[in-house]
């Protein structure tokens, strides 16, 4: 079904964009307080990668239990809430971490603590998107490899768009809180799309999971 697959590709592409966009905005956000040292980027990238890995793992597990568009939509909604709510507490967390650390450690440990406190959870949930989509798209074991590959390729191309779009446009056009709200809104739209499909098409849960021998 073309629509079904297209929605999954769209979701994966857009989430991929949001991950990178969020990372770049997060870097600038941390730089304000913790400086333009290499520690900001090093820690941020490490936290994002850790979050994504954990997300991949959890997303895979969750999708094996019960793969459905509705649940996918709920996961996406969670990511929307985590990212979109950042402006409500990110500034105070950043300030608190900065205040609590002395000059000796604020540059090295500050970015790590702030990144963990603010961006670890959102990236975990964002990381569940791709493996969950894989489970939903897979309908033919003979073509599993290329389906997974295509999804991940789309996700990564989305990341490119997110990175370049943020650097060349978003940073100049919007302020930081608006950027976080925007990313949350985008994830929410993806969530509504998945939820809509899940409810309207009313797929029975786990219906599309292929049996090991390829029989339906």
């Amino acid at each position: 079904m073309m629509w079904r697959k297209s929605i999954l590709y769209l979701i994966v592409f857009t989430s991929g964009a949001v991950v990178l966009a969020l990372e770049i905005v997060a870097g600038r956000f941390l730089q304000v307080k913790f400086g333009s040292t290499i520690h900001v980027w090093g820690n941020l990238i490490a936290v994002f990668l850790a979050g994504l890995s954990l997300g991949y793992y959890l997303g895979g597990h969750l999708s094996d239990r019960h793969a459905s568009f509705t649940r996918f939509g709920l996961l996406l909604l969670l990511s929307a809430a985590l990212v979109g709510s950042l402006p409500l507490y990110a500034f105070s967390v950043r300030e608190m971490v900065f205040q609590r650390l002395g000059m000796e450690r604020v540059e090295t440990i500050g970015p790590l603590l702030a990144s963990l406190g603010l961006f670890f959870l959102p990236t975990i949930v964002l990381g569940t998107v791709s493996p969950y989509a894989v489970r939903l798209v897979a309908d033919d074991p003979a073509r599993l490899g290329r389906q997974v590959g295509s999804l991940y390729a789309f996700s990564t191309v989305g990341s490119i768009v997110g990175a370049l779009g943020t650097t060349f446009y978003l940073i100049a056009m919007l302020d930081t809180p608006t950027q976080f709200y925007l990313f949350g809104a985008i994830q929410a739209l993806l969530a509504l799309t998945a939820l809509g499909w899940g409810i309207l098409v009313a797929e029975p849960s786990g219906a599309r999971s292929p049996s090991p021998t390829g029989e339906r």
């Binding site: 600038r28 730089q31 304000v32 307080k33 913790f34 400086g35 333009s36 040292t37 290499i38 900065f98 002395g102 000059m103 604020v106 540059e107 060349f168 940073i171 100049a172 919007l174 302020d175 930081t176 809180p177």
Partner: protein, 296 residues
């Protein structure tokens, strides 16, 4: 035919020796590609691939200020008088700190430099040294400023020179922190490099206009550097007053250049200068983009 090839070979072989300058040191730090070269009695510090140099030192006189803008930066002294506590954000080749140390031996000088390799290079190649009253902190300038519990008579911001400006050192919130670290009669001197007048330049002016009661701009003319001086106290100080003070300082300290003349020829009172730009804030300071936009 053979002669022509021999000639070409000879020219190519002579290439390395045909260069008038010598590369003394080259290294990759986490922040810059650093190069130290020497040519005709001067030692230069350059960053990255750009041909422009960050700093120049006269070998026969390490405290000699070569670039006009470094001399102009000391116009700040005419506002402050005898500074007891000074802060330099950004070390570079240490031209200004060395000059300052020579003429103000009793003053306390803190320097915040983010790149430890720059500090090493300044000490090993540019005759810079710490002493009981000179202390270098390998820290980001804003982190240092917000964490240190000190007030200064003079704060020199010289971290804007490189091709990429750290945006968090350009914003209203940062300037407010700077103001908080100034003594009541203190001033901040910022070296803003702007070879073409762009939207960032205008925005920086606007940002400092809203944070400080008074702003003065001293253009460095040929180099594209502009020295911004902002005071903690309201009340315009007239050109002739500054020139007189500069003359006194020159006489007393015996500077190698004419500070009074520089002040006289470049003084611009910028507190009320019309500015069609938005204030730079921590949440929105797209300085890189603004730099490529023409000033409105």
């Amino acid at each position: 035919m053979k002669v022509r090839w021999l000639l070409v070979a000879a020219i190519l072989a002579a290439g390395p020796w045909a260069q008038a300058y010598e590369v003394l040191f080259e290294a990759e730090s986490p922040y810059h590609h650093i190069r130290v070269t020497e040519e005709e009695g001067f030692r230069y510090l350059s960053f990255d691939e750009t041909r422009g140099t960050q700093s120049a030192m006269k070998l026969s006189d390490p405290t000699f200020l070569y670039y006009t803008y470094t001399r102009l930066a000391f116009a700040g002294l005419a506002f402050v008088g005898e500074p007891k506590d000074a802060l330099f954000v950004g070390l570079g080749g240490a031209s200004m700190p060395k000059f300052f140390r020579r003429h103000y031996p009793e003053a306390n000088m803190d320097i915040a430099e983010i790149d430890p390799v720059i500090v090493e290079v300044a000490k090993k190649r540019f005759e810079f040294a710490e002493d009981p009253r000179t202390r270098v902190y390998v820290k980001d300038g804003r982190v240092f400023l917000t964490k240190i519990d000190k007030q200064y008579d003079l704060i020199v911001l010289d971290a804007y020179n490189t091709s990429s400006i750290p945006f968090h050192l350009t914003t209203k919130e940062f300037m407010e922190e700077v103001r908080r670290r100034l003594k009541p009669t203190g001033v901040v001197v910022a070296n803003i490099w702007s070879p073409d007048l762009n939207q960032y330049f205008e925005a920086e002016i606007k940002t400092m206009q809203v944070t400080f009661p008074e702003l003065y701009i001293f253009p460095g003319l040929s180099s594209g550097n502009y020295i911004f001086v902002a005071t903690n106290q309201p009340g315009q100080i007239q050109r002739y007053v500054l020139v007189e003070r500069a003359k006194e300082i020159m006489r007393e300290k015996k500077f190698h250049f004419d500070l009074a003349d520089l002040v006289k020829s470049t003084y611009q009172y910028a507190t009320k200068r019309p500015c069609r730009a938005e204030v730079l804030t921590d949440n929105r300071a797209p300085v890189e983009t603004m730099r490529s936009q023409k000033a409105m």
